[in-house]
Amino acid sequence: MAYSEKVIDHYENPRNVGAMDKDDSGVGTGMVGAPACGDVMRLQIKVNEQGIIEDAKFKTYGCGSAIASSSLVTEWVKGKTLDEAMTIKNSHIAEELELPPVKIHCSVLAEDAIKAAVEDYRSKQGAGHSHAEVAAAQVAH
């Protein structure tokens, strides 16, 4: 499998690897995928009082393209509002990383992870800071 230089760069030097407190009301967590399918992505965003994503962290179990896609979106969502983050499409990710057709699903998963993280944050806000379960933040894709 020939990977683009960008995929290899993100794979070898992944940005923003880590975890945040998923019970923090200012943190949104999105976990998508399934181990049996070979990809699980967890994206976490920290949203400030102005509604701006000020930090993002990820951990991914998956192929090089999946790791690169999630690493890339942590860079992209930082500094964006939630609505702006929701406009990131898998096609942008696939284009930026020059993903081959068989790896498009990795970019789809990364887009889903953003949506799941934003939805988790919003549900926490709307539900009066209730603790959302990690599993509840998953979306089918």
Binding site: G38, V40, T60
Partner: protein, 421 residues
């Protein structure tokens, strides 16, 4: 330790230890031609180029003599008679000839064939073809350690069973099937026994009499001989008949036509003789390297799982799954080591190794498996470098893995309702 090496003839430097190339640990995929073998092959490409079928001049006689010497060498390696050896283009063709050839010849007696789910694709795909032609095939399950359950095997034999085909040593997990017991059962029930001995020859003793094999496929390039050459053993007493699959000239007593590739045959003969000569020394040295590799990995990496029996296994193979890391990223991380993975992630639909699945391994563990194939030219330094790489890279990927984090937190991954993919 007296370590065999492949030396460049001009520079006198070892050819296989090259800092610019990955460490080669894929000896079950293929092996380099041993220089001693190559030396014997070369004259037959240039000076002694005759056609072994030319009966009327010395060029043909020289080629024929070389072919017959090689036939004797391969026969000796299998404890067979040279008249029982048929040259083919490789073991895949040998297996095709054995199964299709015997199935076609004996189809009047019955149309049932028995094989295992963990066989090589050469056997499985040939059986699929025979099913399309109206034969019926039983694909037997194996036990968790990869070994055949002899009772289940015997129970699968029917009055119309004509052939059973069993892989002596599994190419992915290196387990050795109980061939003598299988041979005894089949002989009692008068069922023909085809053995795929590709991964056994040169690694453990192979004796067609001891295991009562009726047909046996072997290959040149797995025993430090050239690619493109193999052989099928076909028993003479009691006589086993196979229908030719390749026609044109009636070579190989009508069983396989086509001009014989003298240089490759010479290479396979020399390689077979050398493989038997070096078998004990190779196995002892390679076994030490394998144990060193296994201990090194187990000392440094938690949550590893060995695939297949360690007791009934050739020392040349180690197959390990690394939990909580994904197979393709593992292979990508291990680009400095040439190994095979249980994961065929070249397409969007991930297809984990059918052999590991047959052992009852989960998709995740099948995906994250690595086959280490150790061979004649593997060095201790290469093994030590491999241990370092594995420990470092698996550690790095686990740092990245949300599943590993959950495992450390004591969360049972099976308790989570994962979204459909």
């Amino acid at each position: 330790m007296n370590q065999p090496q492949i030396i460049d003839l001009e520079s006198k430097k070892p050819l296989l230890i090259d800092p610019d190339r990955p460490i080669y640990l894929d000896y079950q995929a293929t092996t380099p031609v041993d220089p001693q073998v190559l030396e014997q092959m070369l004259p037959y490409l240039t000076h002694d180029f005759g056609n072994a079928a030319s009966r009327s001049h010395a060029y043909g006689w020289t080629a024929e003599k070389a072919v017959e010497k090689a036939r004797q060498q391969v026969a000796d390696a299998l404890h067979a008679d040279p008249r029982e050896i048929v040259w083919t283009s490789g073991a895949t063709e040998a297996t095709n000839l054995a199964l299709k050839g015997a199935a076609h010849f004996y189809s009047g007696k019955g149309k049932h064939i028995i094989t295992l789910r963990t066989e090589h694709k050469a056997t499985l795909d040939t059986c699929r073809q025979l099913e399309r032609e109206g034969f019926e095939v039983t694909y037997l399950e194996v036990q968790e350690d990869g070994l055949l359950d002899l009772k289940a095997f015997e129970a699968a034999i029917r009055p119309d069973t004509i052939i059973a085909s069993v892989l002596f040593v599994n190419n992915e997990i290196g387990v050795i099937q109980p061939m003598e017991e299988i041979g005894r059962i089949l002989r009692t029930h008068k069922v023909l026994f085809h053995v795929d001995a590709v991964q056994a020859l040169g690694k453990i003793p192979v004796d067609v009499e001891a295991i009562q094999a009726d047909m046996m496929s072997v290959s040149g390039h797995k025993i430090y001989g050239p690619k493109g050459i193999g052989a099928l053993y076909v028993r003479r007493k009691p006589r086993v008949r196979v229908e030719a699959q390749v026609h044109g000239g009636g070579h190989e007593r009508g069983m396989r036509s086509g001009t014989l590739p003298t240089h490759q045959i010479v290479g396979m003969g020399a390689a077979a003789e050398l493989a038997v000569q070096l078998m004990d020394a190779d196995a002892q040295r390679i076994g030490k390297l394998r144990d060193r590799l296994l201990k090194g990995i187990q000392d440094r990496v938690e949550e590893t799982y060995i695939n297949g029996s360690m007791e009934h296994r050739v020392p040349h193979n180690l197959n390990i799954s690394f939990a909580f890391v994904e197979g393709e990223s593992l292979i990508m991380a291990l680009k400095e080591i040439a190994v095979s993975s249980g994961s065929a992630c070249t397409s969007a639909s991930l297809e984990p190794s059918y052999v590991l699945r047959a052992l009852g391994k989960s998709d995740e563990l099948a995906h994250s498996s690595i086959r280490f194939g150790i061979g004649r030219f593997t060095t201790e330094a290469e093994i030590d470098a491999t241990i370092e790489l594995i420990a470092g890279k698996v550690g790095k990927l686990r740092e990245l893995s949300p599943l590993w984090e959950m495992h450390l937190e004591g969360i049972d991954l099976n308790s989570i309702q994962w979204a459909a993919h």
